[in-house]
Symmetry: C2
């Protein structure tokens, strides 16, 4: 058991201040106390390397932290966080950090897909850690599950929806009948797609992620150039409509699989049976489906892009790197966290859907609604069926309210003269 070092502050160097970098800086600055508790030491944002320190930034970024001298910033850091993107100077700076003994965290999929193994080897040789949870599928934890949770198992196959733009486009084609160009235009209007959508629709972004996933799952040197790649530009609205007719959804998949002969890595549109969990991944969401020998099928779902989701993954890596530095490994179990009070069951906030049978008399609905309102509960929808033989059925859904108020409401409704029976009370969640 390594002896923990005293909890001195750790200097974090941030390279890059774009959408992700700004969120990382904001979270580091605003959540300092929480992060220190979780990391086992204060995390000090030592500086933010940018190309042009005079450019105006988000109000959350103290101008004094900005520097154009990335190398000096790296040299004084315990943890280097790279969110600048692109191959150079990101690679040179990360290698410099590694050689200097810093732990590194990167969200740079282009760099890892081009030359990840060089960085992994350098980190191994230097005995430092490299973390890249944010580089594949944004907020979705996939690196730790594959590297650690499945370390005693054999991964056979990884199928990923790893590009939110193309998933949005294909989903729109399926649900609205738009053709590809119209759906891409809509994705651009909503900010899901770039003005030049090539990297997404031609599958380059997905191929970079496929390369990283394959390296991770099968410990094989795969670069983005090795990935057989076909984008979605050949997918027609007729393809999507036919897919639905034959019980499928069209998805752009990143596939890495291991056979007896070796590893196959490819990106292409594919028909996925509607009953497969990947078929249900809608809009701009991402999901990675993993098949392992003993674990069987697993799926990891969430937001694959965006400043805050990606920053969440980066910060998780920063805390891991800090824990490792301070405590020599895993974080503490529970004891350093502030315990939070446990609420009684009737303090929960939920919604109710209630079915009840009532006498078919004028004013019954108003009477029920009045009692519900008297308890501070508001009604979302009411649906009446019947009447048959003098009895009508009401289906009533409430807005969110405290369990205690909802339970009291039901008790009061039950005593109303025209209420014959409360057939069912179910909560609505999610």
């Amino acid at each position: 058991m390594p002896v923990p070092e005293p909890a001195r502050g750790l200097r974090v160097a941030l390279l890059g201040c774009g959408v992700v970098g700004t969120e990382v800086a904001r979270m580091l600055l605003e959540q300092g106390t929480d992060l220190a508790a979780r990391a086992g030491a204060p995390l000090e944002l030592a500086g933010i390397a940018v190309r042009d320190a005079s450019r105006p930034r988000d109000a959350a970024i103290p101008p004094a932290l900005l520097t154009e001298d990335a190398e000096s910033l790296v040299d004084g850091a315990d943890i280097v966080v790279e969110v600048m993107g692109g191959t150079e100077p990101a690679r040179a700076l990360l290698l410099r950090a590694i050689e200097g003994g810093a732990a590194v965290v990167t969200a740079n999929k282009a760099l890892l897909a081009a030359d990840g193994p060089t960085l992994y080897k350098a980190a191994d040789s230097a005995g430092v850690d490299i973390y890249y949870e944010a580089a594949v599928a944004g907020a979705i934890p996939i690196v730790r599950p594959v590297r650690e949770s499945l370390a005693g198992d054999h991964v056979r196959r990884v199928l990923g929806i790893v590009n939110g733009t193309t998933n949005y486009v294909l989903d729109q084609m399926a649900t609205t009948g738009l053709d590809l160009d119209e759906a891409v235009k809509q994705a651009q209007d909503l900010g899901y797609a770039e003005a030049d959508p090539t990297a997404d629709v031609e599958g380059y972004d997905a191929a970079a992620k496929a390369a990283i996933l394959a390296s991770l799952a099968f410990h094989t040197r795969v670069s983005a150039d090795d990935v057989a790649r076909e984008g979605i530009t050949g997918v027609t609205s007729a393809d999507v409509a036919w897919a639905a007719r034959t019980g499928h959804a069209v998805k752009l998949l990143a596939i890495a699989e291991q056979t007896g002969e070796g590893v196959s890595v490819r990106v292409h549109p594919a028909l996925v049976p509607l009953e497969h969990p990947l078929a249900g991944v809608k809009g701009a969401f991402n999901a990675i489906f993993v098949e392992a020998d003993a674990a069987g099928p697993l799926m990891f779902y969430g937001q694959g892009a965006g400043g805050r989701p990606t920053a969440s993954a980066v910060l998780g890596d920063v805390v891991s790197a800090a824990r490792h530095r301070v405590l020599g490994g895993k974080g503490p179990q529970e004891s350093i966290y502030a315990a939070r009070p446990l609420l009684p069951a009737d303090a929960a906030v939920t919604r109710y859907q209630v079915r009840l049978l009532v006498a078919d008399l004028p004013g019954v609905l108003a009477q029920v609604a009045g009692v519900v309102g008297d308890h501070g509960v508001s009604i979302d929808t009411v649906r009446q069926t019947g009447p048959s033989e003098g009895t009508a059925e009401l289906l009533l859904t409430t807005h969110a309210a405290r369990e205690a108020s909802l339970a009291a409401t039901i008790a009061a409704v039950r005593t109303l003269e025209p209420v014959r029976e409360i057939t069912s009370v179910l909560r609505v969640e999610g």
Copy 2:
């Protein structure tokens, strides 16, 4: 950076040899070389503690490894794996292991739900690691993602389908119209439900997992007794049918959420909107939906029970514990793994769905099928529409074949005289 110890073998003590224990032992014995590479040291199964060593066991279990003296086995171990279940003697043995400086791995949800914090505190005090990925949701990685990947974020809410039996029962009620008793009977016949289904249908099993999830997500001492619990015995086939009519699925949810006031933990059936990812979790599968401030919604899906899936999670924990012991933290990045060859794109095995327009002449289908067969590709289904104006449309789905054969098949079909156009070629995956 702690200096790695030399890679001596690590002694693993296994407590319990039921369904999960047998699979853990089998995997430790059969995958020794792989596990040693991943763990950074050989893992030696030092013994298996059982109540009755004379009882016949699976052929994979060497009788010489069985012992009834669990305490001595624990005392000589580097890593203690507890899969015996129940509160005692599991707790006493784990505390003994922790005090003796061993890392511990447990799949025991009943023990953690009853008294997890005692174990976590003991491990913190002794400076050893406790791992319990297998105790919540079987093979699904949830402990690492919440503890580590989300360590820089704030979890707001956890919604889990954590009991496969009740999910199967509710799913059957929805898809076949069975009532509860019939669906439970069917689950029993299939081995999904115990002869006495109380622990599942009354929500006790889900409540134990809810307690562990709440402790994990919110660092709050929650025991199974603190969880507000309602099972599925009150759910009628009418409820399930009404749910569908209003766009919902009925699911038994384990809910842990944090509000400004504190933490609420409960288990009850709930209506989940059909467009919510949890509504698509079918059969005996489990899924855990996590909402975090920055990451947004995440979902983790897989098999929540069963010997092999649970053993996969246990082995992942064993490898993590070993890495920590040998290497002082994370495992090596890539270099110790054997690199596997990368296959060319046309070696991939896939299925094709092909749409083509053909002249409406007798024998065309046979001609197309003949060419496909000549390339060693077999046809799964053919569907013909039309003819209109002398042209028919064929929709042809193949069985799995090599990409190279499929591509050659398409090229040959394209040259057939009656083939007017190949409208679409899409791969089928998943």
